[in-house]
C-alpha cells in the first residue's frame, strides 16, 4: 500500500468520524470499522493497515475478541493501539498484550504521535 493507513475500530460514530478527520488531515489513509467483526472482514478482504486503533467495548465483536482474532488470523504483525474509556485501562491493555494504550479522552497530538510511532515499529507497509 503506497499510503500509510490506519484501521480505526470504534463503535461510536462521532468518534469514528473525528478520528478519521484528524488522521486524514495529517495525510493518513483511514479505514473505519464500527466493530471488531467489520474490521475483521476488512482484513479478510485484503486490507493491510500500518496500524490498528482499537476500542474495547463494542457490540457484536468487542476489542478483546478482535485482538484475539488478529493473532489467530495471522495479522499479529499489525501493530495496534488500544484507545478506550475503560476504567482500569492499563490492566486491560496488559491483559491483551497491547504495547500502546491511550485512555480516552486523549489529545490529538498524543494520538497522532502514538499512531506514527506504532506504524513505524511495524514490520511492513
Amino acid at each position: 500500500m503506497s499510503q500509510r493507513s490506519v484501521l480505526v475500530v470504534e463503535d461510536d460514530p462521532g468518534l469514528r468520524e473525528i478520528y478519521a478527520d484528524v488522521l486524514r488531515d495529517e495525510g493518513w489513509a483511514v479505514h473505519a470499522a464500527e466493530d471488531g467483526l467489520e474490521a475483521l472482514n476488512a482484513l479478510r478482504g485484503g486490507l493491510e493497515p500500518c496500524v490498528a486503533l482499537i476500542d474495547l467495548r463494542m457490540p457484536r465483536m468487542d476489542g478483546w475478541t478482535f485482538i484475539d482474532e488478529l493473532r489467530r488470523g495471522g495479522w499479529d504483525r499489525v501493530p495496534f493501539i488500544v484507545l478506550a474509556a475503560h476504567y482500569q485501562l492499563q490492566d486491560e491493555a496488559r491483559r491483551v498484550g497491547a504495547r500502546w494504550w491511550l485512555q480516552k479522552p486523549v489529545g490529538i497530538d498524543r494520538l497522532l504521535e502514538t499512531v506514527a510511532e506504532a506504524c513505524a515499529s511495524g514490520g511492513g507497509s
Partner: protein, 552 residues
C-alpha cells in the same frame, strides 16, 4: 420390696449366703458367670433384662440358640463382634483382666446399648475355674461422644459454606442415621420457603418422601409445621408421633397411608436463627432406627441448628458483598465509558478545529477570537476529564480498593506550568507564581499527581476570594521532593485542620464555596497510594500551605 439399710454395714456385715445371693441378684449392674467351658452358669436380673428376658431364671433356662438369636454383638466401629473377642472368652484363654467396649443390638430395639465389659477369672491350682463378667452401661456416654463428633464434623462442613444449599445437603447426610433417620432443611428465600436438603440413608425411602411432598405439598400454615416454626422462631418437639397426629396431618386417605408407610416415630423441628433472624428450619425425624427426641435433646439440636444458621448467614453475606463489588465495578466501567467517550469527541473536535483554523482564510482578529473560544473550551474539557478521573478514583478508594498506578518519569516543570496556566486563565485577581527546583527528576503517576496539584492550586484560588499571590514552590531533598502550594486567603480554623481531610468536609468558614471532585480527602488518599504524604499548615485569616511530599 423393702429396702434394707444398715449404717454399720461392711466390713463387719455378717450377711448370710442367701443375703449375698440377694445382693448379687439385685445389683444394678449386669453380672454373669461362665464356667471353664465358657457355658453361662449364672446371670443376675440386670443381665437378663439387658437382652430382653424378664427374669434371670428364664435367661438361664433358655436354649443357647434362642439366646444367641436375641442379640447381635458389635464392636466400637459398629462391626459384628465375634464371640471369641468377648472379654469372658479371653479370660478363659488366660488373659488376666480383659475388658472391652461391646455394643448389643437387641432384637426389636434398633438402638444399640453399649457396655464396658470386664472379665475377672477365678483360678485354682493354676486352672481357671470360672469367669465373672461385669457390665457397665455407657450408652449415654457413647451418645454424648457421638454427638460431639457430629458437631465437630458439622463445623468442618459448615465452614466451607459458599454455596449453602449443597453445604446443608452435606450436613443432612452427616446426621443420618447417627442422629436421626431423616433430616430435612428448609430455607426462607425471597420466593418463599424452599426445601434445600433431604437425607435418609435409604434412597427408596427418600423417593417415597419426595413423592409424598410432590403429591401433598406441606401446608405452610399448618400449626406446628415448618412454616409455623419459622414464623414463631420456636422449636416444635413431637417426642412420640402418634397415629392421631398422622391422621390430623394427612390430607386424605392415600396421604395417610403414605405417611404411615414412612414409619415416623419422633420429630423435632428446630428454627435456624442467626443475628436474631429466622432463616429456615432443621427437621429431624426418628423412624425405623428408633431415635426418639426428648426435651433434654433440644439444647444440642438447637446448637446444631445455630451453627447451620450462621453458615447460611455467612454465605449470604459473602454473596451480598460480592454482588456489591460487582455492581460497583459495573458502575465504574459504565461511568468511565459513558463520560469519557463524549469527552473524547469534544476534545478531539476542539483541537482539530484549532488546527484547521490556522489554514482558513479568516482575518487575524476573527481568527484570534475563535482561537480564544477554542482554548477556553479545551481547558474546560481538560478539567472535566480530570474530574471524571477523580470521581472514578474516589469511588474506587472509598470502596476500599487501591488504584492501578501508571508510574513514569515525570517532567515536573511542564506538569506544574500546565496546572498554573490552567488556573491563571480562570482569574485576574490572583497571581500564581511558580518557583524552586522545577527540573527535579521524579518517577510517579503523572496523571494522579497532576490531578492532586490541580485540586490544591484550585483550592488556593478558591479560598483566597480577595485575590493575591498563590505560590507553588518545589524543594527537593535526597530522598523526596516537596511541592508546597501557599495562599493568603481565609485559612482554616486550627481545630479543623485534620477534619478537612475527611470526605465531604470543608472548613466552617468556607460554607459558601462549593465543589466536587477529588477533594482533600481523595487527594490525601491518592498521594498515599503514590507513597507520599499530603500535609497542611494554616492560620485562620492569613492563609494556608498544602504540601505534597513524594519519594523521588
Amino acid at each position: 420390696m423393702a429396702h434394707r439399710r444398715n449404717d454399720q454395714a461392711a466390713p463387719g456385715w455378717a450377711g448370710t449366703a442367701d443375703d449375698l445371693e440377694q445382693v448379687l441378684r439385685l445389683a444394678a449392674g449386669p453380672i454373669t458367670v461362665q464356667d471353664a467351658s465358657g457355658r453361662l452358669v449364672y446371670a443376675n436380673q440386670a443381665a437378663a433384662r439387658q437382652i430382653g428376658f424378664a427374669t434371670a431364671e428364664e435367661f438361664l433356662a433358655a436354649p443357647i440358640a434362642e439366646v444367641m438369636a436375641r442379640y447381635q454383638l458389635i464392636d466400637e466401629d459398629g462391626r459384628p463382634m465375634p464371640l471369641e473377642a468377648l472379654p469372658g472368652r479371653r479370660a478363659l484363654r488366660g488373659e488376666l483382666e480383659p475388658a472391652a467396649i461391646v455394643g448389643f443390638r437387641v432384637q426389636g430395639d434398633p438402638i444399640p446399648r453399649w457396655s464396658v465389659v470386664q472379665a475377672t477369672p477365678v483360678s485354682e491350682d493354676g486352672h481357671v475355674r470360672f469367669v465373672i463378667n461385669a457390665f457397665q452401661d455407657i450408652t449415654r456416654l457413647k451418645d454424648t461422644e457421638d454427638r460431639l463428633r457430629i458437631l465437630a464434623d458439622a463445623g468442618a462442613i459448615l465452614a466451607d459454606s459458599v454455596d449453602y444449599p449443597s453445604t446443608l445437603q452435606s450436613l443432612a447426610e452427616l446426621v443420618v442415621p447417627r442422629l436421626a433417620d431423616w433430616c430435612v432443611v428448609d430455607i426462607v428465600e425471597s420466593s418463599g420457603i424452599r426445601r434445600v436438603a433431604v437425607a435418609h440413608p435409604d434412597p427408596r425411602k427418600r423417593a417415597v418422601a419426595e413423592e409424598v411432598q410432590r403429591r401433598y405439598p406441606s401446608d405452610p400454615d399448618r400449626p406446628g409445621g415448618v412454616g409455623d416454626v419459622i414464623r414463631s422462631g420456636r422449636t416444635n418437639l413431637i417426642s412420640h408421633v402418634t397415629d392421631e397426629i398422622l391422621e390430623a396431618a394427612a390430607q386424605d386417605a392415600t396421604h395417610l397411608e403414605m405417611i404411615r408407610g414412612l414409619g415416623l416415630r419422633s420429630a423435632a423441628i428446630v428454627p435456624l436463627i442467626a443475628r436474631g433472624q429466622v432463616l429456615g428450619a432443621l427437621t429431624l425425624v426418628g423412624a425405623e432406627s428408633g431415635h426418639v427426641f426428648e426435651e433434654a435433646d433440644l439444647p444440642y439440636l438447637e446448637d446444631l441448628a445455630r451453627r447451620a444458621a450462621v453458615a447460611v448467614d455467612n454465605a449470604r453475606l459473602l454473596h451480598e458483598a460480592k454482588e456489591a463489588i460487582r455492581l460497583r465495578d459495573d458502575f465504574l466501567a459504565m461511568a468511565s465509558h459513558d463520560m469519557r467517550t463524549p469527552l473524547q469527541a469534544v476534545l478531539a473536535n476542539i483541537q482539530l478545529a484549532a488546527r484547521r483554523l490556522g489554514r482558513t482564510g479568516a482575518d487575524d482578529a476573527q481568527r484570534e477570537a475563535v482561537r480564544d473560544n477554542l482554548a477556553h473550551a479545551e481547558r474546560s474539557t481538560g478539567r472535566l476529564a480530570l474530574l471524571v478521573g477523580d470521581l472514578l478514583d474516589v469511588a474506587m478508594l472509598r470502596s476500599g480498593h487501591s488504584l492501578t498506578l501508571e508510574r513514569s518519569e515525570v517532567d515536573l516543570a511542564a506538569l506544574l506550568m500546565r496546572v498554573v496556566a490552567d488556573h491563571q486563565a480562570t482569574t485576574r485577581t490572583h497571581r500564581i507564581v511558580l518557583s524552586g527546583a522545577l527540573d527535579t527528576p521524579i518517577t510517579t503517576d503523572p496523571v494522579r499527581l497532576e490531578r492532586v496539584l490541580d485540586n490544591l492550586v484550585g483550592n488556593a484560588v478558591k479560598y483566597s476570594p480577595a485575590g493575591g499571590e498563590v505560590t507553588v514552590v518545589v524543594s527537593p531533598t535526597d530522598a523526596d521532593v516537596a511541592v508546597a502550594v501557599r495562599d493568603h486567603g481565609i485559612g482554616i480554623p486550627a481545630s479543623e485542620l485534620e477534619e478537612i481531610f475527611e470526605p465531604y468536609r470543608r472548613g466552617s468558614n468556607a460554607t459558601k464555596l462549593r465543589g466536587i471532585g477529588l477533594g482533600l480527602s481523595g487527594s490525601r488518599d491518592v498521594i498515599r497510594e503514590l507513597g507520599g504524604e499530603l500535609t497542611v499548615e494554616s492560620t485562620e485569616g492569613e492563609g494556608s500551605v498544602f504540601t505534597v511530599r513524594l519519594p523521588r
